[in-house]
């Protein structure tokens, strides 16, 4: 990306359709957000009812959905209809506005995060909604709103299992968000900017060349230690195995989502999946060179898709193979292990980068 940074998606729409003035910008922004939002939701739609089943089945020697449509793909609309057609059971004594808002806030917070993610180019279109100077800080801020939703669900459900799940969610997020962000700061030290496009651009330089191939300076290669730290903290942040403590099926039934059914349940599930993809997107941007990959710039979106689905696959692999840690062990790993390591990483990075400079 040696040239001038590509035009952002809303600006592209304004230019292409010649939309005038502030109103035009608003309309263009809405259209762009609609497109990006739907791309993410489409991932989720494929992942939830179909890919997750197929992947887990592959790990466990099963076949999973195969009857409806080719490779069972039509299970996606079937599941959508089925889930939406179910009765929404509202338990007695739930804290109404809280209980209703929680399943909306979770997917909303995760979707908001995608506003600043540079998702690469597809033809002439650069799928990047906004590129504020504080991009990286903003995406973490959006993603952490999710904990609020979990607490609301846990508190509002009038159910002890939900309450336990909600409390666990807070404890877990406190313990892991700090190492997550501190580790991300080491990337910021490398890149010298919080701007998402800047971080991606900084990784497009060549690290070294092997037999004519340029190995890019992805931070996963520059600082693998930080990458592993970030990956681990990210798993905890999005609450996947071995850190799926707030839900912990078989322990506290389903944690904060125990009392949710029908469309509210769908919203929660949706939110979780979008959150996984957002986690993958942040990982891709900060450590895996964003949407960069071999081939022309115009198909870089496909590489981005490959990266976030790769991360999704990784979460499913962990889900099939890894036991869950206990809540107190999780907190201990977070505060006594990850936090210390992430600060060590930050200081080391600062020293090295400062030394080179």
């Amino acid at each position: 990306m040696a040239d001038a940074p590509a035009q952002l998606f809303p600006e592209f729409i304004v230019d292409t359709f010649g939309l005038p003035g502030v109103l035009g910008e608003v309309v263009a922004a809405l259209i762009a957000a609609f497109v990006v939002g739907n791309i993410v939701l489409a991932f989720t739609g494929v992942a939830g009812p179909w890919a997750k089943r197929k992947i887990t089945a592959a790990f466990t020697d099963r076949i999973a959905v195969s009857r409806i449509g080719p490779f069972g793909l039509l299970i996606i609309p079937a599941a959508a209809v089925q889930l939406l057609a179910k009765e929404l059971i509202v338990p007695e004594g739930v804290d109404r506005p809280t209980w209703d808002l929680a399943p909306i806030i979770l997917p909303a917070s995760a979707l908001l995060g995608f506003a600043v993610i540079p998702m690469g180019q597809l033809g002439p279109v650069n799928l990047h909604l906004a590129d504020p100077e504080v991009g990286l800080a903003l995406v973490f801020a959006f993603a952490s709103i999710a904990s609020v939703s979990l607490v609301m669900a846990g508190y509002g459900s009038n159910n002890k299992y939900s309450m336990l799940g909600g409390l666990r969610a807070v404890a877990q997020n406190l313990a892991y968000e700090i190492p997550l962000i501190v580790t991300a700061m080491s990337v910021v030290i490398f890149a010298g900017t919080l701007e998402m496009s800047g971080i991606v651009a900084a990784q497009s330089e060549t690290l070294f060349s092997v037999g004519g191939f340029d190995i890019p300076a992805w931070y996963a290669l520059v600082n693998p230690f930080a990458f592993v730290l970030f990956l681990t903290a990210n798993m905890a942040e999005i609450g996947r195995n071995p850190f799926d403590i707030p839900e912990a099926p078989t322990e506290i039934v389903a944690g904060y989502q125990t009392e949710y059914s029908s469309s509210y349940f769908v919203l929660f599930y949706l939110g979780e999946f979008v959150h996984i993809f957002l986690g993958g997107a942040i990982l891709a941007v900060t450590f895996l060179g964003g949407a960069a990959g071999p081939g022309p710039e115009s198909i870089s979106f496909l590489w981005f898709v490959v990266k976030i689905w790769g991360f999704f696959l990784f979460t499913q692999w962990c889900r099939s193979a890894l036991p869950r840690v206990r809540i107190d062990q999780l907190i201990e790993i977070g505060w006594k292990g990850m936090l210390v390591l992430s600060f060590a990483n930050l200081v080391l990075t600062a020293v090295i980068v400062g030394g080179i400079a």
């Binding site: 466990t60 036991p323 840690v325 809540i327």
Partner: protein
């Protein structure tokens, strides 16, 4: 780790006292002798139970209260304490405690043997004997509102069991707050993903830590004892054992009944049938332990994991062998008094080669489980040093099977009280002395390998068995009528531990009293010992490591 074995049966042979010596030891406590077929029986006064039991435990070494049987006669009630030694279960003694017909009160043995708690509650619930000095004498299997005691003689089965709603304790009360404490009451079950059936755990939590836990059982009570009492020995009882531990341990359960009834009626089982029984029973043990591994992985990993599916897959392969052998997949009904119902499936070679294929593949699969489960660091972090059950506590609660062996106690009826063909074969009793969730799992996984060894030897034996000596059943009269007033208690090593049957005959073709000693019942009783002070996830893991089947707990 101490190298000194906790129990060494070989080191010093436990001196067996003759019944006369025991009688002398008990002295005036003994009112009369009432010998059973398996053990000498001493009749004592109902207010000297604790004294008698503690003399037998402390001075004569009878440290295993296997079972408490209660029953009603025309002129009295009676509780029987079946005692054994963990070091040598063939040394048995029965303490017979008659109680007054009009006011059946008997002293509780709970102070001496902790396990008597639940056994006496069951006796109170079903037969109606009241136990003095019992810490918590409530009904255990039936609802607290139940009218009458179903196994007592004057019980009116047609009496409607109507209880007004307020009479029920509502487990889901509105508030559990009180000003003094900041604990939380939590119902785990009866519908909960980790209770492996309908079990209700009344849990008091301090944060995430368990302060108190109480099992509420009986949701799956199906009157198995009463049903067995109304069936004939020869054919009508055998199908019931399959329904106790229904996690494919059917043949092991059938053997418990077969052993007791055959000893009662003095039936000699042909050797060929014994080998088939041994092979089938060990197949059941593999299937049962595979399921235990699978569900334990669910409890610790959560959701559908690879371990679960792999173990179910292996279980399926044993299940297919059992289907070939018995014609059934779950309710085998394969044993008969005096043998088994039919010979191996034809062609025999095909069955043998299928079995051998399975045995050949098993070590590789077990290796895979060790890679996937036991050597996983997170798994070790979760299971090592959690759910601690010290050996003395385990013995006191009458825990048996992998639970007891996971606490380092070397006790296995297949070796210590041999039956079937086990004493002719080469295999080992597995013990682990970690006393934790991890040890119990390791014991099960290694027992699968031992079972495979046994099956392999049985297949070799069966293959070379001369064709004209393949007797699958002894000659047994069409109608069995054991002599009047004979009593016997016999146990076998089932998948979960010591599964015992007490039968009293009354000269008819049906048992007058049929009592089941369920290993899960005693094992589940240890849960508070393992759970108190631990975190919820550890309680779930401990429950999983006990490997209970509610069908056997509740019967």
């Amino acid at each position: 780790m101490s190298l000194e074995p906790l129990d060494s049966p070989d080191a010093d042979v436990i001196p067996e006292r003759t019944p006369e010596e025991l009688e002398a030891l008990l002295g005036d406590l003994v009112l009369a002798r009432d010998d059973h077929l398996n053990a000498p029986g001493f009749v004592i006064r109902p207010d000297t139970v604790q004294e008698t039991l503690s003399i037998l435990k402390e001075q004569a070494g009878y440290d295993h209260l296997s079972l408490v049987t209660a029953q009603e006669y025309e002129n009295r009630y009676e509780s029987i304490y079946h005692l054994k030694k963990f070091d040598d279960p063939t040394q048995e003694v029965s303490v017979v405690v008659p109680a007054d017909k009009d006011q059946p009160v008997s002293e509780s043995g709970e102070a001496v043997f902790r396990t008597a708690d639940w056994h006496e509650r069951e006796a109170y619930d079903l037969v109606g004997i009241e136990y003095d000095d019992h810490p918590d004498l409530r009904r255990i299997l039936l609802p607290q509102t139940w009218q009458g005691h179903p196994l007592s003689l004057d019980y009116d089965m047609n009496q409607p069991q109507i209880a007004a709603l307020p009479a029920h304790v509502n487990p889901i009360q509105d508030h559990h707050r009180d000003d003094e404490s900041d604990t939380m009451f939590l119902n785990i079950g009866p519908h909960h993903p980790a209770t492996h059936g309908v079990l209700h755990l009344k849990t008091v939590l301090d944060g995430e830590q368990v302060v108190d836990i109480e099992s509420d059982i009986g949701y799956l009570h199906r009157c198995e004892e009463q049903m067995a009492q109304s069936g004939t020995y020869r054919h009508q009882i055998m199908p019931y054992p399959d329904r106790w531990d229904y996690i494919s341990a059917g043949l092991l359960n059938e053997w418990a009944y077969a052993r007791a009834a055959e000893d009662l009626a003095d039936i000699e089982v042909p050797e060929y049938a014994q080998v088939i029984r041994t092979m089938g029973a060990e197949m059941c043990r593999i299937a049962a332990h595979m399921l235990a591994l699978a569900t334990f992985a669910l409890d610790v990993n959560g959701d559908f994991t690879a371990t679960f599916m792999y173990a179910i897959n292996d279980r399926e392969r044993v299940q297919n062998l059992l289907e070939d052998l018995t014609g059934q997949r779950l309710m085998f009904n394969y044993f008969r008094l005096g043998g088994v119902v039919w010979d191996l499936p034809e062609p025999r070679e095909e069955f043998f080669s299928k079995t051998r294929d399975f045995l050949d593949q098993l070590p590789g699969n077990i290796e895979e489980y060790h890679n996937l489960v036991t050597s996983n660091e997170i798994f070790q972090m979760r299971t090592i040093d959690t759910g601690i059950l010290p050996p003395e506590v385990a013995k006191n609660y009458g825990a048996t099977g992998p639970v007891l062996r996971g606490s380092g106690v070397d006790y296995d009826l297949r070796r210590d009280d041999p039956y079937g063909y086990y004493d002719e074969l080469d295999w080992d009793v597995i013990t682990e002395d970690g006393c934790d969730n991890y040890s119990r799992l390791l014991v099960r996984m290694q027992e699968v390998e031992e079972s495979a060894k046994i099956i392999g030897q049985c297949v070799d034996l069966l293959e070379d068995w001369p064709e004209d000596e393949r007797t699958i059943q002894a000659n047994v009269p069409r109608t069995l009528r054991p002599d009047d007033d004979n009593e016997i208690y016999r146990a076998v090593e089932a998948a979960k531990g010591e599964l015992g049957i007490y039968i009293r005959s009354d000269g008819t073709d049906k048992p007058a009293r049929f009592k089941i000693r369920s290993p899960c019942f005693s094992n589940l009783q240890t849960l508070p010992e393992m759970a108190n002070g631990e975190y919820i996830p550890d309680v779930i893991a401990a429950l999983g490591s006990l490997d209970i089947v509610l069908g056997e707990v509740d019967r």
